[in-house]
């Protein structure tokens, strides 16, 4: 009996501790001001709180840093220019460590403790996907910077995606391959996560429908670095006339390096996953001539794009990449709609939905599709003289409009 009793006491203690520990924490977060959308903006001088989460530690820390840089840059620029309608913006930032369990905790904290009016996700699909239903239920709009899992936006009408749907970019890539580069025999190398899978699938669909043949598909895990076997196989057996890489900069850099050293001289087409200065740094001269689909046109004459690149470079000493640009976009959209309609979350949601032809650093955001995924032209860039440059743009409505939700 004694032992049983003891174990129960400790059990009760343990559960009690969970609550008391978390209660300790609640004291740290001072009760935030109620977000009064009904008040006239000019009267309320309290800061507008916007939530943000990204994988600042863990395996995706490089992307976490890039997006968190962008988030802070966006907020500091708006605050320096006097805030939104006279109110300063306060960033409530959390690290999800690329862990869905932590993302659930964070989402709950943002919605019930931090009183944010809207949230931007700077994280991957997993954390963004589990957080989305929580924001939906709380009625707080979330813009996902670059997580393209199709189920993210399906969580409900408060959830938006700032990057184009995965299927859009896959199709746009196929158009570049088939129409611009005249490829007939295409080899696909894809990273085996939602990003690679979706892009490769929609690429295949469009490419095969337009007369090209997919001659091989090789999948590999996120942390893989060894591509010599695959490149050897492509060179000696498959003999494609184009390689489509649905993967990230680390993989891409190693593939182009191997291709060069093995003498596999075929056009290589990448995606936004290699749109990073890190790709250029590792791949060096081997990256020359690589073409990619992405959202930011480095040669754009758009003032805000150039201003963003310049401000980011000045503040952080590195050039912004695709994930950073997408998150910056998300903040621009929020600032714009909050300036227009105030801080009431439902009004913010409606304003995002109604947004049309809004100029962002990644070009013209035409509108959000009924699936709440951004519709914008897909930029095609080429690597020349160690930097990204304009190669073309895919604007066909039937390609850049995401398919309706099923």
């Amino acid at each position: 009996m004694n032992k049983k009793l003891k174990s129960f006491v400790s059990l009760a203690l343990a559960v009690g501790m969970t609550f008391s520990l978390s209660a300790c924490q609640s004291k740290e977060t001072a009760p935030a001001p109620a977000t009064g959308g009904t008040q006239a903006p000019a009267e309320n001088k309290d800061p507008i709180r916007i939530g943000f989460f990204a994988p600042i530690t863990g395996a995706a820390a490089a992307d976490g840093l890039s997006t968190s840089n962008s988030a802070e840059l966006a907020v500091s620029i708006i605050n320096e220019s006097g805030g939104i309608n006279g109110r300063q913006v306060e960033l409530v930032k959390y690290d999800d460590a690329l862990d869905t369990k932590q993302a659930v905790n964070i989402a709950q904290k943002l919605t019930t403790k931090d009183n944010v009016v809207a949230v931007v996700s700077g994280s991957y699909s997993g954390p963004t996907r589990v957080a989305a239903p929580i924001f939906q239920e709380a009625g707080i709009p979330m813009l996902s910077g670059y997580a393209i899992h199709p189920d993210v936006c399906k969580a409900g009408d408060f959830i938006f995606s700032q990057s184009f749907a995965g299927s859009v970019q896959g199709k746009a890539g196929a158009k570049v391959a088939v129409d611009m580069l005249k490829a007939k025999r295409i080899a696909i190398i894809q990273v085996d996560i939602d990003f690679g899978k979706q892009l490769a699938e929609s690429f295949t669909e469009y490419a095969t429908a337009n007369g090209a043949e997919i001659v091989s598909v090789d999948k590999f895990a996120m942390a893989d670095k060894e591509f010599a076997p695959v490149v050897t196989k492509l060179k000696e057996e498959v003999k494609p006339d184009l390689i489509y890489m649905a993967n990230y900069y680390g993989h891409g850099a190693e593939i182009v390096r191997q291709a060069k050293s093995m003498g596999l001289n075929v056009p290589i087409l990448g995606t936004e996953g290699i749109d990073s200065f890190q790709f250029l740094e590792i791949a060096k001269e081997n990256a020359e001539g690589v073409i990619l689909t992405t959202n930011m046109n480095r040669d754009s004459e758009n003032e805000s794009t150039q201003a963003f690149i310049k401000a980011y470079k000045e503040k952080y000493g590195i050039v912004p990449d695709m994930v950073g640009a997408s998150v910056y976009d998300s903040f621009e959209v929020l600032f714009k709609v909050i300036a227009d309609v105030g801080t009431e979350p439902t009004a913010i949601r409606d304003a995002i939905k109604g947004l049309k032809n809004f100029e962002t650093v990644t070009g013209n955001l035409i509108e959000y599709a009924p699936t709440r995924e951004a519709i914008k032209p897909v930029q095609v860039q080429v690597i020349k003289d160690g930097d990204f440059h304009y190669y073309g743009v895919v604007e066909d409505t039937e390609i850049i409009t995401p398919p309706a939700a099923n």
Partner: protein, 290 residues
Amino acid sequence: MLMQQLVNGVMIGSVYALTAMGATLIYGILRILDIANAAAYAIGAYLGWYIYSISHNLLLAFLLSMILTGLIGVVIQKYIYYPIISKPNVIPIVPLITSVGLFTITGDLIRLILGPNVKEFGVVFKSGAIKIGKLIINPEWIFIIVLTAVLFAILWFILNKTRLGLAWRATAEDSEIAKAMGVNTNISMALSYILGYGFAASAGIMVGMLYNSISPTMGDIPSYKMLAIIVLGGLGNPVGTVVAGLIIGLAETLVSAYMGSILPRDAIAFIVLIFVLLLKPSGLVSKKSA
């Protein structure tokens, strides 16, 4: 194509063997599954990168990085692992968790000091790839294979031809008896860590050169893959480790070349391991034949 793939496999296999050698030497004496070897691998790569970037001397980068990392290993062994394993009734999971803690700290420390971004390693060999018929061999591959062979030769010499090595082998066989016979087992332990972490460091630099990149998370895959390799090699057996590293390297290469993407690369090492253990529960090369 087969020849080229075999070269690819031997290449990656020898890097695996070198990576796992550190863990083997440590297990041989201390009976610890030391995941922190992967931390030494990352530290070694960063030290090597730093030394190379200021001196532009690759040999110096290797030597200095191996020595420094080896010394870090001795400190960790002396102040963390040894006190833990010398306590009575400590279950083997305790040092393992310690090593996970050390590994976590290291990866995050590198991130905090140098940032999470990938860094270019920056060693460039002037000569282009060497072609023998259809076979293509990169100069850095030759460098890596030769250096690995040299390191293994030195290891073999130390373990088999020196008094230090004799003491090491005696301690590995049975540390109690060795102690009773007057062998200084503390020196054997220190030797394990100097060599173990030094080897891990050299493997880190090689991988940095091979992929022209280093990052704070570069130790993630080696941290568990080397466990599969050292077990496959018979736990604590240096010769077995070389054989196991080559087998895993070749298996991964051939599967990805001829069977496509039927299996994630990470699972291949463990599937090979499970099969071998089912047939031979003490690993490929059992202790006695070392």
